[in-house]
Every structure is written in structure tokens, then in C-alpha cells.
């Protein structure tokens, strides 16, 4: 019962956030309460798509925004009843890198920081090369969360592995433990640090990024809460990504918007996971690069320099 009321509360909160469509600093929002009509004052706001817009104060209505600690609490719980999975169709990827761009915009990353990276792969000496988008694998047995000394990175109920950059001490053990090289570190002051100064930290998008802490792919958990597909999935022009809920056994293609049965999709196409021999149990499934929609272009980069 107690759980139910909390869930309701969270759902309400989510709805308010969705309606307001903004993720802003508590300081800004609290100032909204005492706004007179047409003050002429402009306020900078961060939209859910990750852009900064300037809005007249009079256009803002007070919204019930989660403060940092509520934000962190609900971020740790995840979306009830969900079990997110991603399917990547390697035969469709032609290295357009729209997913990488969208992701870097959404999560305020520098060009060399990849939550998702499109790799040139070749499995053995004479096999055909292919492009492989590689997000965080959101393992069910994640090596990274095991080694974290302060519980800054954790796996939540809906299967997403998140990072709390308000708690992270920057020991980089999770980078060392991750066999998929899926984690990045903010070695310097992050991109746009000045621009987003004072904005409340959103754990589900890991923005604003923070110097000296880890960042990683989060399946755009903030967009999932709004009922949207992750940034990379929506941005792909070639239909590479399927994303959905394993509990519902349904995945949706980000490009064609087609929804199919998850289990049938991975069964019919002989899907596999990366380095399954390590026992990490990834939630990202790959469909083999068969009947390629495009030729592999360019020279193959050596795997191990």
C-alpha cells in the first residue's frame, strides 16, 4: 500500500514534469511562484530534448519539480514493471553516426566522449568487416556496479545501469571493470559547464555532467519516463535500433516505428550478445550482419594498436 501511494506520487510527478516540458533548476522554478504577468524578464531553460531556450517569465507556470534528492530516489528505483531491452540490427548500420551525435547532444558530451560508439569490427582475419554500434550493455550481472565503493553506479528495477554523479568519487574502478569499455570520465570541466551552472542534476540523463566523475549510456532514462524512445534510437535514419520492454515482449523500431515481438525478432534472426562468455548477461542484443543493406566502406582500422 505504501508502495502504491509512492508510485502514484511518482507518476503524478512524472506527469507534471511532462506537462511543463522543462527540466530546470529549483532556484529558477521557485522564483516562478512569485512572477507577475509580462515582466519582460527572460529566463533560460533546458528543454527535455537538451536545448537551451529563453522564455519570458510570464509564460511559466509553477510546476512541482522533484528536487535533487527526490530526483535521485526515483532515479534509483526506475520505472515500475519495466524491463528495457535494445536490439541492434548490424545489417542496417552504415556508420551514419546520427546516434552518436544525438546522444552527445542529449547528454552534454564532448566529441570524444561516447556513451554510444560505432565501431568497425572484424571477428576473424578473413571474415567480413561490419559496423557495430556499442552502447552500454546494461548487463544483468554488471561488473561495474559490483566494484563501485560508494554505490554511485547501480542497477535499477527496470534493468538500466545508472550513475549518480553527485555521489561518484572518481576512482574509475568501474572503467577498469567494464569489459565493453562503455564508460567515460570527465577529465576536465565538462562541455557547457558554464552554461548549465546551477541547473539541478538530473540523474536519469546524467546532466549536467560533472568534472571528476564518470558518465555512461543510460538508455536515455529521462526520455523513457516521458514515454519516448532513447535519443540514439530516435535519431538513427536506417532502422538499426529496436527498443522496448522485455516484460511486454515488444520492441519498437526507432526509424520505422514498427512494433514487433521481441522474442520472435531475436529468435528469427539468431540474435546474440557481446562476449557472453564473460557472464555479464547484456540487455543489448545484436542481429548478425547478414544481407547487408550497404557495402562496408573505407579501410579497416587495426583492432589492437
Amino acid at each position: 500500500m505504501e508502495r502504491n501511494t509512492r508510485r502514484n506520487f511518482i507518476r503524478k510527478l512524472g506527469a507534471t514534469v511532462g506537462a511543463a516540458g522543462v527540466v530546470g533548476g529549483t532556484s529558477i522554478l521557485s522564483s516562478c511562484n512569485s512572477v507577475e504577468t509580462s515582466s519582460g524578464d527572460k529566463i533560460k531553460l533546458l528543454t527535455s530534448s537538451g536545448e537551451l531556450v529563453e522564455v519570458d517569465k510570464s509564460q511559466l507556470t509553477p510546476a512541482e519539480m522533484p528536487n535533487l534528492s527526490e530526483n535521485q530516489t526515483r532515479g534509483r528505483e526506475g520505472l515500475p514493471g519495466r524491463s528495457w531491452v535494445m536490439v541492434i540490427d548490424l545489417s542496417k548500420c552504415r556508420n551514419a553516426r546520427e546516434c552518436m551525435k544525438a546522444c552527445q547532444n542529449h547528454h552534454q558530451l564532448r566529441p570524444e566522449q561516447h556513451h554510444i560508439n560505432v565501431l568497425q569490427m572484424q571477428d576473424a582475419e578473413h571474415t567480413a568487416p561490419y559496423y557495430m554500434p556499442k552502447p552500454c550493455q546494461h548487463c544483468d550481472n554488471p561488473p561495474c556496479t559490483k566494484v563501485c565503493p560508494v554505490n554511485a553506479t547501480f542497477k535499477r528495477n527496470d534493468g538500466i545501469v545508472l550513475i549518480d554523479n553527485e555521489r561518484c568519487i572518481g576512482c574509475r574502478f568501474c572503467i577498469a571493470a567494464c569489459p565493453y569499455s562503455a564508460r567515460v570520465f570527465n577529465w576536465f570541466e565538462p562541455r557547457d559547464a558554464e552554461k548549465y551552472k546551477g541547473v539541478t542534476y538530473n540523474i536519469e540523463a546524467n546532466v549536467p555532467q560533472k568534472k571528476g566523475t564518470i558518465s555512461k549510456c543510460l538508455f536515455s532514462a529521462d526520455r523513457l519516463r516521458d514515454g519516448k524512445l532513447p535519443s540514439c534510437v530516435s535519431a538513427c535514419p536506417n532502422g538499426v535500433y529496436w527498443f522496448g520492454d522485455r516484460n511486454e515482449d515488444a520492441v519498437t523500431n526507432g526509424t520505422t516505428k514498427e512494433t514487433v515481438s521481441f522474442s520472435k525478432l531475436i529468435k528469427d534472426n539468431a540474435a546474440y550478445t557481446l562476449m557472453e562468455e564473460l557472464g555479464t548477461k547484456p540487455r543489448v542484443y545484436y542481429l548478425p550482419p547478414k544481407d547487408r543493406a550497404f557495402p562496408f566502406e573505407g579501410e579497416l582500422i587495426e583492432h589492437h594498436s
Partner: protein, 453 residues
């Protein structure tokens, strides 16, 4: 040992021993001042480097997303390694009733304290957010090997400090009683406070013996776990090169090599600087040389297991890593460390001549430097070769080279460790006076100037 002597003779022997062993405290000259100046200057420069690093971010180092652990971690492992010698010499050898190691135990404890203290400091310097250090205690979770490490490092530091302090108490009483006028009053005050009102009753000695024995037994599991747990920082990950079950014993064996070498060097310095030829005798060096050969042989055996077996199979990812060590970018460092730092020293030290003080010290310096590079080889090459290809990143992400800031901070750690050792040597005798005098047959009743009972 105990040859009964007349009171006059006993007093004379004690006086000689006392004045010899307190020379390090009373000795004051330009060289000492210069040495302190060097130490403090380098430590200061290192701290300045750390301030820059905190201000600008860890990006001032050569580390990046792939090689995310660098020289600091190698340094950390090195300091943990040399600190382990305190456990071997002042506990394990004592419990085995090997008495020649007694005069060396304080030297070993000095190294242990300095090493483990700096290991703790360097790990904070490696953190991206040192301001959140308290999170380790507020949100610590015991599933993480880092928490095991924090626990063991603090426990080991505590026990080492106690093992240093307990046998020091009777010495402190001696210093309190006999050093009036010879040292500044602040030092005398320190001695008086730290001596805890020691009177030299048989019961008091009994308590000290008893407590020391407990600590010596306690430090065995703690000492073994400190370096085993450090090795698990690596062994608990899925990376080729680290993902091996041999890491624990491998690290412990390597630690004894590095620590024994450090002890030999420090013994030689004390012997030379404070004229302690009759205390750190030639046979001590001979035995230390034999000990070093023994632990080096064990370490060599583990090295063969560590590299030959995977080298024979050359599994995909493992093969890339080993190729890099054997013939690749790290080949010269790897073979220098193995041959000049391990095999040649073993062969040389089998000959009696090379176990004499000066040759042994020179060998130890080589072994110690090689031990540092060995830690470097454990940390960095593995990180340069992850399972998935390193692509779409700037070239400097792909390989690691330490920057000047990292070198500054590393120098800081070395000089800060030397500073701790120097301060300990300047404050307290480097050999336990009362134990040594007792060994020479002086009865305990002569230790205090005015026996109360």
C-alpha cells in the same frame, strides 16, 4: 646471549650503546638541514602539482578513458608492496625465533609506516573527486574491493604504528631520563609524554611482551591480506592480464622482494651516516642478502607461472597483451625488469662477495627501481588493450605516457615517504636500545637511572 656482567661493566656497555644509537637524534649538521630542505622542497612541489590537478581536473594527467589508471596506481601498489616488509621482518621472523632480525625490525617498521601512509595518500590523489572522500565511509559497500583495501590499509597502518611504538616505550623512558640538556626541550616533552610514565617494572615489561606478541600474530593475516586485497583490485576485473587467480600470492611474493631491498638500502644508509657498523653488522647484510635471494626465487617462480603459461596458449586477448610485453611497446621495460631486476640479482647474490654491505646495497637499489617499474607493467599495458577496439577517439587516448604533473606527484610521494622515515629516525633511535642491550647481557634493572623499586 646473556653473559652476566658486573654492574659497572653493564652500565658502561649500556652507555656506549645508548650514545651510539642516539647519535641519529643528537647529530646535527649542514647535511641534515640540506636533506630536510630537499625533502620538504620536493614534497612541496608535489603538493603544488596536486593543487593544479584539483583545479583543472584529472585531465592534466596522461590518463584517458581507456588507460584510466596510470602511474598513481602503480605507485600505490609499490608503496603497499614495500610496506609489507614490516610484517615479514618484525613479525614473521620473530615468531619463528630468528633473532638476527631483531635490530632490523625498527628499520622495517619505519618503511612499513611510511609506505602504507603514502599508499593511503596517493590513492586520494588519484581520485577525481577527493572532496567526496568521506563518501567512502558514508556510502561504503563491502562488495567493492576498494572498501576491503581501505579497511586493510588502515588496520595495517594502525598495527604497524603500534608495533613501532610498543617496543619504543622503554627506549623513550631511557631518552627521557638521559637526554636532558642534549636535545631541545620540545623533544624531551615528546619523550616524556610518549613514555607513558614508564618505570621499568617487570610487570610493565611483561605487558609489553604480551602486547607485542598479540600484535605480531594479528599482523600476519592483516599483512597477508593487505597485498592480496590490493591484487584483487586487478584480479576481480574481467581484463586480460589481470584476470588471473595467481595475483594474490604473486603480489605478496613481489612485495617481499621490494621491501627487503628497501630495508637493505636503509640499513646501509644508517650504518654509514650514524656510524652503526657494530650494530648493522656484515652478517646482517649477509642474512638479508640470503633472504632477498629466497624471496626473489619465489617471485621468479610466480613470474614464470604468470607469463609462461598464458604465453604458451596465446589466447586472443591475452595474446595481444603478452605480445605487447614480450616484443611490443613494453618489451624493453619488461625484459629489463625481469633480467636486471630479478634474474641477475639472484645469480649475483648467490656469491658471498655480493652479500657484503656495499655490493648488496647497490643490487638492492636496482631491485627496488625494477620493483617500481614492475608495478607500472602490471597496471598500464593491460589497460591499453581492452577487449573491444579503441576507435573514434583522439590518438593520445590510445596509449599512456605520464605527464609532468603525474611525475611531480609521484616524486612527492617518494619524498614524503623519505620525510616520514627521516623524521622517525631523527626523533627515535633506529635500533631498539633496551632490546639490544639486553641481547648484549645488560640486565633490565640498569635501564632506568633511578629504579623506583
Amino acid at each position: 646471549m646473556n653473559t652476566i656482567k658486573s654492574p659497572e661493566e653493564s652500565r658502561k656497555v649500556l652507555d656506549t650503546i645508548f650514545s651510539d644509537l642516539t647519535r641519529s637524534i643528537t647529530h646535527k649538521d649542514e647535511l641534515t638541514r640540506f636533506w630536510f630542505f630537499i625533502l620538504i622542497m620536493f614534497a612541496g612541489v608535489g603538493l603544488w602539482g596536486w593543487i593544479i590537478q584539483i583545479d583543472k581536473g584529472l585531465g592534466v594527467t596522461g590518463m584517458r578513458d581507456y588507460v584510466s589508471w596510470g602511474m598513481y596506481i602503480a605507485n600505490f601498489v609499490f608503496f603497499v608492496a614495500i610496506s609489507l616488509i614490516g610484517f615479514l621482518i618484525s613479525s614473521a621472523l620473530h615468531l619463528l625465533k630468528i633473532s638476527w632480525s631483531k635490530p632490523i625490525s625498527r628499520v622495517a617498521e619505519q618503511i612499513a609506516i611510511a609506505g602504507v601512509a603514502l599508499a593511503g595518500i596517493i590513492i586520494v590523489m588519484d581520485m577525481g573527486r577527493p572532496d567526496r572522500f568521506l563518501n567512502v565511509f558514508l556510502h561504503g559497500r563491502f562488495a567493492s574491493p576498494i572498501i576491503w583495501d581501505v579497511t586493510v590499509v588502515t588496520t595495517y597502518l594502525t598495527i604497524s604504528a603500534l608495533l613501532f611504538f610498543l617496543p619504543l616505550i622503554p627506549d623513550l623512558a631511557l631518552l627521557r631520563d638521559r637526554m636532558t640538556g642534549k636535545v631541545p626541550t620540545w623533544k624531551l616533552k615528546i619523550y616524556t609524554i610518549l613514555a607513558l610514565g614508564w618505570k621499568g617494572n617487570p610487570e610493565q615489561y611483561k605487558t609489553v611482551y604480551h602486547a607485542m606478541r598479540i600484535l605480531m600474530i594479528l599482523i600476519i593475516p592483516v599483512g597477508l591480506s593487505i597485498h592480496t586485497v590490493t591484487s584483487w583490485l586487478f584480479a576481480a576485473t574481467l581484463r586480460s592480464g589481470w584476470d588471473t587467480t595467481i595475483m594474490g600470492p604473486y603480489f605478496v611474493a613481489g612485495a617481499f622482494v621490494a621491501g627487503a631491498a628497501a630495508v637493505v638500502i636503509l640499513m646501509y644508509i644508517y650504518r654509514l651516516r650514524y656510524g652503526l657498523k657494530n650494530y648493522f653488522e656484515d652478517f646482517h647484510f649477509d642474512y638479508m642478502g640470503k633472504l632477498l635471494v629466497f624471496v626473489s626465487l619465489v617471485y621468479l617462480y610466480f613470474n614464470i607461472n604468470e607469463f609462461l603459461v598464458p604465453g604458451y596458449k596465446m589466447k586472443t586477448a591475452e595474446g595481444v597483451h603478452l605480445q605487447n610485453l614480450f616484443t611490443g611497446a613494453f618489451a624493453s621495460m619488461f625484459w629489463l625488469v625481469q633480467v636486471a631486476g630479478l634474474i641477475i640479482p639472484i645469480l649475483l647474490m648467490l656469491i658471498k662477495f655480493f652479500r657484503k654491505p656495499l655490493p648488496l646495497t647497490i643490487i638492492s637499489v636496482v631491485v627496488l627501481i625494477a620493483a617500481w617499474f614492475k608495478r607500472y607493467l602490471i597496471v598500464i599495458p593491460t589497460m591499453e588493450h581492452p577487449f573491444l577496439p579503441v576507435q573514434n577517439v583522439p590518438d593520445y587516448f590510445k596509449s599512456y605516457a605520464p605527464t609532468s604533473i603525474e611525475i611531480m606527484i609521484t616524486l612527492f610521494s617518494v619524498f614524503a615517504a623519505l620525510l616520514i622515515i627521516t623524521v622517525l629516525a631523527k626523533l627515535f633511535p633506529v635500533i631498539t636500545i633496551w632490546e639490544y642491550a639486553e641481547e648484549k647481557g645488560v640486565d633490565k634493572k640498569y635501564f632506568s637511572k633511578q629504579p623506583k623499586n
